[in-house]
Symmetry: C2
Subunit: 190 residues, 2 copies
């Protein structure tokens, strides 16, 4: 057994968590997708929860690095926010982090919940910073509550995924983003 | 076996869908919670999916009736919207309808997905009507895109539940609602 097997197990768990959730993913399904033998999971990981933790931490780090890069460019703050909200997303698959919150078994395990909670809290904080920059630069009204609106933006994305999955179409996601951007920009025009 | 048993089976399935999702709910768990015998589910229902459909339809009807009552009062439209968004909710349990969208098995069954999709689509439409009333009454700016903003409002609630579950606290839900209401009201003040 090689570290290559461990890598394939983590990748397979990441995919399956996104597709089927934690409760819906059996150790057998992970092994099958990874093309790994019975004993390999327990050679590299203490069990399903341990492997899932590695998978979630990796997904969270990727999501955070990508958002941070998009939100940290040289463009004006509102332009960066707009680009972040409008960027291409695999809407019907849902958010690989936010979607995990519906899994009661996963949320009941503090080790598995922590990276989910931290990533979403980080995103709220980062968006609040960029909204603060926009206010400081006179792009948005000084009365704007950056912390509350940052949470609204993250909620709009997460809720947009929920509505898109229900509808079987990305249309509600795009509408939700258009609606919040319209409010943000018209609220700033005075 | 009585219709009282059927009633208890539906109630138990409604609770378990909310707590554990569809994939996480075994027929055995439903029977146990309902205090019903082995054969009773198949006496009243074709199986787990059929029972779940009755449960989802009932939950959806209740949610819709409650929202419609709140959104249809004699108060000014913005007041009704605010009251609806701010009303008491069991935030950490999540939305009993929106939460189901994360269950891949449930979403893959058109009969189970339909009442989820229809309820959320109805809510978007109803909120768009009330936003339209607010615009017509001069409470909100005529430039407001009622349909997009209605979707933003539903997304904010659904995403607020996601963030609250991740954080293990209702604080992000309340922030998300405060943020979107702040945007809505300041966008209308000119």
């Amino acid at each position: 057994m090689s570290t290559d097997t461990a890598r394939r197990l983590v990748e397979s768990m990441r995919d399956l968590l996104w597709e089927r959730g934690y409760t819906g993913t059996s150790p057998k399904a992970v092994l099958q997708r990874a093309g790994a033998g019975q004993g390999s999971m327990y050679h590299h990981f203490a069990g399903k929860a341990d492997l899932a933790q590695s998978a979630i931490v990796e997904t969270a780090q990727e999501m955070r690095a990508k958002a941070d890069a998009e939100l940290s460019g040289p463009a004006p703050a509102v332009e960066r926010l707009t680009a972040y909200l409008r960027r291409e997303r695999d809407v019907l698959r849902g958010c690989p982090i936010g979607g995990l919150t519906q899994d009661a078994e996963l949320m009941a395990d503090p080790q598995l919940r922590a990276p989910v909670a931290e990533t979403l809290a980080w995103l709220r904080g980062r968006l609040a910073e960029v909204l603060g920059e926009a206010v400081a630069a006179g792009e948005l009204a000084p009365t704007l509550d950056a912390s509350a609106v940052a949470t609204t933006l993250v909620a709009t994305l997460q809720g947009g995924y929920v509505l898109a999955r229900a509808a079987g179409s990305r249309e509600p996601f795009d509408q939700a983003v258009a609606g919040v951007l319209g409010l943000l920009l018209s609220a700033s025009e005075h």
